[in-house]
Structures are given as structure tokens and as C-alpha cells.
Symmetry: D2
Subunit: 334 residues, 4 copies
């Protein structure tokens, strides 16, 4: 049960509400986000919700039986739109492209990428500075200095930044230089990180776990919302399966199902979802018609020498073609 409160609810009303919940032996949690106040009640048995709904400071009451509550579409029917400033948004109408290299490697590379984004009217750049790598011997990213450099180039060009945060202690040092925090597939169930990201006022994009279920992704989003941050984006990036003909199995089914179950925007990551450069375009188009709110594409000015993920990064010509195809398709679908 989700109880939406008026932000200016009086102490008297709060007390009255708490008494009803306690009298009915309902375990409840209070949530206060950058926008609103909620109470989540875990119901073990029936209760007459009019008792609660009649209190002055209560805006609305909804029953939600899913294991996730606040991110469910059962109570919030309209899609959530994430505002990044300067008119850049994710969710609602339209299809938002995010593009850039797997890893930030050099200022030259960032400059080239930004020019390419501007040419194609793409407003958000991706690029990792803290890289989770299976092996301790692999390149782990340029770190916070890389991020500052990325930020200074992007800011000068009106480009927003999404980049991965790997641990709680990085949040504070990163927050002035990013527009969206990305939580990677290995951290989808890093609950301490989710808790901490719930306490800042910055959009968070959550990738589905490497073999995560749709339900687990939604519950991880619930963690962040529960801790106080409503600015959430979901990302489908492929599942680990038995098939060896490609890197991951992009779960196209997850797109309409996430859109049905949650009010949050859903971004597709076809680069990781198939992992083969020449097929990224097809999977991006498929994600769009399946209902995704956008796609995040790995692109590199010279994929052959990329520090990481070169095999799945588009070169600039391929990216131009992808953008063109998306525009034709978007037009055709109107």
C-alpha cells in the first residue's frame, strides 16, 4: 500500500495516520524524496483504506501487490520524465540517444566524440572513467581526473554526461561533474550503493544485472526511490545465456514488460546486448519499436584501437547511418 502525503501535512494528521497504521498492525516505512512524501505499508491483512484516505494530509492511497511499490505503474499511470536541464529529457515522448566511447581515453578522443554527437544532435554522452573489469590486470579507467576533463569539454559544448559510479565513496567526488549516475550490471544488487544514490538529487540509470531478473531490476530501483531519489532510469543490456554466437542475449521482451510494470523510462543498450558492431543498428531499431525510451550506443572515432569494447563500438560513419535510420523509423511511426 502506497500512501501519498501532501508535502505540508500537519503533525496532527501525521499522528492520526500513524495511529491508524499501528492500530491495524501495519509495518510501514516513511519515504521522503526530492519531490514528495510517501508511506509504504506492508499489509498482512485487509484494512478499510477509507480510514486513511479521509485524513486531511493524505493525498491518495493505492494498493500495490507487486514486491516493488513506488516504481510500479499500478499507482503512477503516467510515464516518468527525467529532466537533465537545458531541455534535455529521458522518457515521455521521443527517443533519446546517448552515445560515446566505452572508456574515456584522452582529451582528443573526447573532443572527437563531442563533435560527432553535436553533428548528429545527440545531447548526452556516455564514457567510463571508473571501469569494472573482471581482471585486475586490465585497464581500469582514467579516474576522477578523466571525469573532470570530460566534464570541461562537454560543458563547453552543451553535452550532458552519464558515467558509471562503482562505489559509495565516489559519489561525492563525482557529483559535480556528471548529469546521470550509471549503476553497472555488476552493481545492480550492490544495495549500499543503491542506498547512497537514493540520498542525492541526481538521476540514476540502473542497468539490469548480468543474470538479473526483471523483478530484481525493479526491486533495485525501489531501493533508490525508497531512499529518497525519484529520478530513475532503467536499462536493458542483455542476459547471460547458453548461446555463444554473440556476447549477451538482448532481452527484447524486457522492453514492453518493463514499460508495462513500471512508470520509469527504459533505455536499451544494444552495444552490450549483442556485442557485435555490425548488428548494433538492427537491435537499436528493434528496441525502439518495442517501446524503449532511448538507446545508449558505444561509438569510437577508431574502434580498432579502443582501450575496451572495440568489437562492439560503432565508428562515426556507422553511427551517422544509425541516427539516420532511427529518424526515418521515428518519422514512419508517427
Amino acid at each position: 500500500m502506497i500512501i501519498q502525503l501532501h508535502n505540508n501535512i500537519t503533525e496532527k494528521d501525521r499522528n492520526a495516520l500513524n495511529k491508524i497504521l499501528s492500530d491495524n498492525k501495519i509495518k510501514f516505512s516513511e519515504i521522503s524524496t526530492q519531490f514528495k512524501k510517501y508511506i509504504i505499508g506492508i499489509l498482512s491483512n485487509e484494512i478499510d483504506i477509507r480510514l486513511i484516505g479521509n485524513i486531511e494530509g493524505v493525498k491518495d492511497v493505492h494498493r500495490v501487490t507487486d514486491p516493488y511499490k513506488l516504481v510500479s505503474r499500478k499507482w503512477k499511470v503516467n510515464p516518468t520524465v527525467i529532466e537533465l536541464g537545458d531541455g534535455v529529457t529521458i522518457g515521455g515522448n521521443g527517443f533519446t540517444l546517448i552515445a560515446g566511447p566505452c572508456s574515456i581515453e584522452s582529451e582528443y578522443q573526447v573532443q572527437k566524440s563531442v563533435e560527432q554527437l553535436k553533428k548528429n544532435n545527440v545531447k548526452i554522452m556516455r564514457g567510463g572513467v571508473f571501469k569494472p573489469r573482471s581482471s585486475p590486470y586490465a585497464f581500469r579507467g582514467l579516474g576522477i581526473e578523466g571525469l573532470k576533463m570530460l566534464h570541461s569539454v562537454c560543458k563547453a559544448n552543451g553535452i550532458k554526461i552519464i558515467t558509471e559510479v562503482m562505489q559509495v565513496s565516489q559519489i561525492e567526488e563525482m557529483i559535480d561533474y556528471v548529469d546521470v549516475f550509471q549503476v553497472g550490471a555488476r552493481n545492480t544488487q550492490n544495495f549500499n550503493l543503491l542506498d547512497a544514490l537514493g540520498k542525492v538529487d541526481m538521476p540514476v540509470m540502473l542497468k539490469r544485472g548480468i543474470s538479473g531478473t526483471i523483478d530484481e531490476l525493479l526491486q533495485s530501483a525501489e531501493y533508490v526511490f525508497f531512499a529518497g531519489n525519484e529520478k530513475l532510469i532503467l536499462c536493458e543490456r542483455g542476459m547471460r545465456t547458453y548461446e555463444k554466437a554473440y556476447r549477451n542475449t538482448f532481452d527484447i521482451n524486457a522492453i514492453p514488460i518493463l514499460k508495462e510494470k513500471s512508470h520509469l523510462p527504459v533505455i536499451a543498450d544494444p552495444s552490450h546486448g549483442i556485442g557485435i558492431r555490425k548488428h548494433v543498428e538492427k537491435i537499436t531499431l528493434a528496441a525502439m519499436v518495442a517501446g524503449a525510451d532511448g538507446a545508449m550506443i558505444e561509438m569510437h572515432h577508431e574502434p580498432e584501437i579502443a582501450f575496451s569494447d572495440g568489437q562492439q563500438s560503432l565508428n562515426f560513419e556507422e553511427f551517422d547511418k544509425l541516427v539516420n535510420r532511427l529518424m526515418v523509423l521515428e518519422e514512419g511511426l508517427k
Copy 2:
């Protein structure tokens, strides 16, 4: 190595060719299909292919290193088009819709389905009369009598039939009443059935196995071609994975990969691929933009009372809407 022969190759040329192959210790198989003659040589070491290419009766020689040969796009670059007669085709340009109920249940049901297909200009009907069911206590289909009834209604209306064949002994009794034999996901590696289907001149649509790999599907197609039947269609119908939010994981990645690796047409089965009625449309659109040559859709005049698969069958209104969306999309993509 694939050696294409002229159909009128002389005995003398054949002998010369055999001698070269034997002299070079190449294990080889002779294939004779409804269209052409081939020799497949399994190379253990290098050979100068000009030795072979210079023989009069040899049309062409191709190296193919894939485990499958004849179904590979490495030697046959142009897409294969399957002709069902009366101008009905699968493959090449255009997107072919196949629709109908999971199981054939009654003449009334067939009549209703055929009317609905004609209304939407769909030329091929699906419908099972032999149903593979996990439990011996489930409905196993109307059998050959059901097929004859289906055929008489379809023939009168100019509709082609695709239906599942489960075992070798059914081929002969079914062949006069079908236009395409379907091999189901549980029989993808029923090699005796594949051998037998290679010996008839009737198109065969092979579904990917329940947890089959892309490679296994192509090798199963190779079986049929090897036994003499070039009229082959591949079908992606979803994989078995850990995710429980839907029936199967539709493998959108498989579409561009199958199209890249093979010259055979690829049909999507979104009904089994997601198994949830309200999301079938989205997956069909996704399959189209990913490059599928068509889709096979479960549809029922009253899904709520279908003998099988009601939860994934579209009703007529939903099907009309799907066809309309496909047409808009096809138009937009031109």
C-alpha cells in the same frame, strides 16, 4: 568445400572429379536436390581448387569453413525465396505473415480463421493437428482427419497451410494436404525426421530447439538440404532461460545473425517468443525491423476458450491492429 556441378555433368567428368578428390584424400558426399547437384568435400588440408574448377562439368567451387556448408551465405550470397505457388512466397523482399490458431479444433474455427486471414490479405494459415504435448493427458490434436478438413476449407479460399509433422510415418499421409511442413522445437534435432524431409519436394520450416543454439539450427537445416531438399525456412521462437516474467526469451539477436550466416529466410514466432498476448505486437514489429522475412502469429476467434496457448493468441481485433501497425511500419521503412 562446396563443388556445384552442372546438372548434365558427364560420367567422364564425374570420374575425373572423383579421382582428384580421392587422390587428395578428401572425404566427400554427393548431394542431389530438387534443383541441383553438389559435392561437399571435408578438407583436412589444402588443395589447389583450380584442379577441380577446370573440369567441364563443374560449375563453381567455394570454400566454406562453417560446420554447415550448403545453408551458409558464404557461397550463396543471394537470399533464398521459397515459392508456395499462386504467387505466395517467403523470403526475398517483403514481410510474410502467417497466422492461425495453435490447434485446429473444429470446422467452425477454421472457417472463422480463414475469413479473418482473407480480410487482412494474409495468405498462409498455421494450425496444428498433431500436437506435441509434455503430458500424455493433454489434448494431442485432431490428427489427419483434422488436416483434411483444414485443407478443404483453405483450398477453397486460396489459403496455404503450414502445420507440424512429428514423425517420419506422417509425412506420406500429410503431404497432399500441406504447403509447408513445420518441424517443432522438440524435433529440431530429430535427425531421422530431418533425413526423411530431405527426400520430399515440399518446403520445410525448422524451428530452433527449445534450448538450441544458432549453430545447431543451421546444422539441422544442413541435414535436410544434404538429404536433397533446398526449400528451407528457419524460425526463431525464443530460448529457455532463467527469466520467469514471460514464457520464452525471444532472441532478437538471432534474427540479424541468422540472416548474416545463411541465405535461408527467417521467420519470427513472437507468440511463443514472449507468450503474453498483449506484448506479441511489439515483438513482431521488433522482429521486422531486425530483418526477419516474416512472422507466424497465433490467433483465435475466442482465445479464452482455445484448446491450447490461449494466453498467447491474439483475438481478431488485436490481429487487425497488428496487421495495420506492420503496414504502417513497412511503409515508413521504404
Copy 3:
């Protein structure tokens, strides 16, 4: 609901029983095996089973809510023992070893294998003559002539034979030369084959499908029992998963679960279950202590030159060691 009938039930009693079932709108199937007669009723609602139990010709009545009925342990609490003649059994007490090559290759190989089995007091030999192979270009076995040769050597030495049957038409030609029909992992849901094997009086060992569930294996066994053959053995041979460090994931969990759910004997196939020769022993021991009734081991007098599965076949020295370890363990467990 399983209704056990006395074999000599009178027509009058049968009629009375049918009337009760019909009056209560119970869908039912009659089963007659080499041993007994049963009626399976699919209950949609409650019925007072005393009505049925009181009929003279009815031996017992059991409620079984599993999707499989006759193979369930819910009605038959004692383990089923399969008798192969000459005192050779599978199931009940003791651990039955089956061993031999993947494929029958030559009389010399069979002779060597039989000597090795006799030396180790192993009474059942495995060896394929019809080989299901993913590629049409791979070795497909010696066929029926190979089986006859195998039989003549084994018979002379008192060794029983288990070998794979791939299609209905092979049953009749094989039946005089085998002691157990094996259904391979690609045919677990070849329902026509299961039906046909239900009609012969010969033990059948069913392998779990390549990505088959435990439930599907039990339902496939139900098919054979339903068609009239109670002599059934189950075989766990590993699942297809994402892990690439070995061939299949041997499902040790399946052993105690199959033993709990069914009265049928369970054989482990560690050779396919891990696919790495040096680890086969450990997995065999694990299967034994987990409750398996036996194990089927691939063994070859010279694995390095085996036509198939050499990488997972033990040589004779390794096999001797395995038998010795099993004996020590069996002794220790007493």
C-alpha cells in the same frame, strides 16, 4: 487419481466403475501394462473415493496431484527394480555400473571392452550404433549390423546391452539384440517414439533433455508408462548452462529430487555430465552418495583414437581405478 485394478476385474465391475466416473464427469484413461491395469482420472472437482474403492475389482485408489501420475512416488512408495535377466538388475539396493564406448566401432573394440567389463564384474555394456550427430558430416554409427555384432559378442560373455534407439521404425529391428532401449537427450520429448516404446516389453532408459526440466523428464516417462511399459529408468546427464569450463552442468540436485518424486531408478551419466575425462570419477562418486542407483560411464581401450567423445572416455586403467573407488565408497557407506 490413479485407480489400480485387479487384473481379473469382471466386466460388471468395470461397467460399474465407468458409470461412476462418467456420472462424476471425470475424464479418464485406461492403462494396461505388462504387469497391471490402471485407470487415470483427471479430477476437476472433488469426489468421494470410497465410491470407487468399494468396487470389488478395484485394488486401490490414490490421489496424485503431480502432472505425472504413474511414475510418481506418491502412490508407489517402494522403489522400482528393473530385471534384465540372469540376476542383473537396476534399482533397489546396490549401485549398477554400465560402461562401454560412445560408439561401437569394430569387433576388436567390442572384444576389448567386454574383457574389461568382465574383469571388473560389470554386467551391462553401453555402445551406440545409431548416433545422433549435430552435423550430417559426422560419423553416424555402424547401424543394425554393428548391433548384431555387439550382441553376438556380449551374449557369448553374459553381458547385457543398452543402446540408443532414435526412431520408431528401428524398434522392431533392434529388439532382439538389446536388453535396454536408451532414449537420448535429443529425443526425450519425441512423443511418438515414447508412445511406441510404451508398446513393447523391454526396459527403456530415458535421458533428461539437453535443457529439459526434471518435470519434463518425469512427464516423458509417464508417456511410456501410459502406453503400457512400466520398465523405466531415468538418467541425469547434465544441463546446458552458460558455463563454458566444461561440456554440461551435471545436475547433482536432480538425483535426490528424482528419487523423492518418482519410484523409478535413476542412473547418472557423468561422462556427458562434465565431459572431461579426468573429472569423471569424482562426479560418479558424488552421484553415488547423492543417491543414484547406478552410473553409465564412457570407456574406450584407446580414447585418443575414439570415433566420438574421446575427450570424456576413460581408458582401462582409469576405469579400474574408478571401480575400485566405488567399491571402497560402497563399503564405507554400509
Copy 4:
């Protein structure tokens, strides 16, 4: 390439060594653990290792081509033994039992558990105080106060403690109260946590990821060793697969493969590995004969009222029986 250094290597020798590595363009990392000093060189081409081996301060040089180096058995053939003090060890000879509740719930529960462990001569207790839970609404553990209580009871009774650490900031507050840090299945690739655990002198047990590969587990162990901590234990706890008959698929194959590939001890977690109380004993026995160095068992004085994982926790009677069976088996295997 692993270069083992003498701990007292002179600066001169170090400089000579560095020069050789640089001259040969070898990328290298220096590792200094609680025991020894190593240099890991990533070779892109051949080098004459005698050049390095001849330097005075170099103890030994090994080629290791695995993606993991220091945890590989290719250079360290003898099994690693982890010493917890007071003669309690993990690895080497013998089978080490670890047992206790999923979550620490109360002092009463801890007292009961400790008595039960002492009765069965088990020296290490498990019990979570920080619980990673999919849902923010589930019980998240008693926290650091719970750990202090657990420690005071265990210390008084000579019992060692293993418990899960979820984030870097917990390490310092926990370290005085634990004997082994456990890294849970959701944190196997939390690389920051691994780095931080590499910097403390306390044994670490790494669970395999929820859908982690064997290779990823070994590379995660490499992270900790690389950062300076050699005291490592691996734990197999089941994979996520398509099978729904149990909680996870316990990967029995992983036991001999991990023992072959690494010198680190391997603990089985059959409680999570099958998730069904009545089958935990069988899987534990199987893990033992497959070569595991021990097992970690969930046990509760009253599983029916456990805060978490009650369905897979043994009660005391079942645990007594398990210990007895293990002793019989261990005796039998001698």
C-alpha cells in the same frame, strides 16, 4: 609470468630486474602480500626467463597463461591452508564444517547455535548481520551491534566467526569481531570491495556470483591476492539456471575444476546450492567426495520461525545426522 622475489631482495637486484622487464617491454605489477613479494608480468611475446631467474633476489619464475595468475595451481602446486588460530584450519587435509543460521537474530539464538556446534565439534560459525536483500522492505540484519554480541558469545566458547561484509566502509568496524570475511554472491564482482579486502590481513571467503563463471570467480580471487591478501577461500553456492524444481543448481562440476585450477581451498554451500532442507545432506556428501575442503551449512534451532532462509536451514536433529553421515563417509574414504 609470476616472478617470486626473496623478501629481502636488494634494491640493486630490484633495479636490475626492472631494467630487464622494461627493456623487454613487459607490462608488470608489483605485489606485496602479508607473506611474500611477487611481480606479475604480462607477456606479449617470448622472453628468455633465465635472464630473470639468474638475479640473486629472485626466488623463482613461472609461466602462467591463465587470465588469473597468483591463484593458479600452475605455479603453486601445494594446496593453500588457511589458519584461523587455535588449530582451526580450512584446506589441506580434512573436511571443515561451518554452520549456523542465515541471519543473526538474537542472543538466545546465538547461544543455542553455539551449544549445538560444540556438541558436534564444529569450530566455525556462520551468521549474517548485514544481509543483502532483493527488496528494501525485507529484514536487513542486526548490524554491527549484532556482530559484537555474536563475537562475545563465540569468543567465550572458542568458536570462530565467518560473516558477510557488504561494503568497504564496514571492513574497519567489523575486523575486530570476525575471523573470516565472506563476500556474497552479489558482490563477487564488486571490485572496490575486493581491492579493500586485499589490504587487510584477514581471511576472505569469496562466493561465486549468482550467474558467475568459474573463471570470473578465480579472477575475483586474483583481485584480492593482487591487492595483498593471500588468505583466500573459494565457495561454490549454485548457479542460476532455467530449472525451477529447486532454488539454485549446485555445480558439482565446479568442485574438481576449481581444485584443479587453483591452490585455494574450496567450500561448498549446499544450503543455497539446492535450497531444500531435506536434500542438503545428500549434496553435502556429494561435495565431499567430489573434493571440497569443507561445507557451510545453514542451521537454525527452529527453522520454521527463522527470519530468513528457513526453508533451507537444518534443525538440530538433522544437523546431528548430517555430521554423523560425514564422519562415516570420511572414515570410509580413508
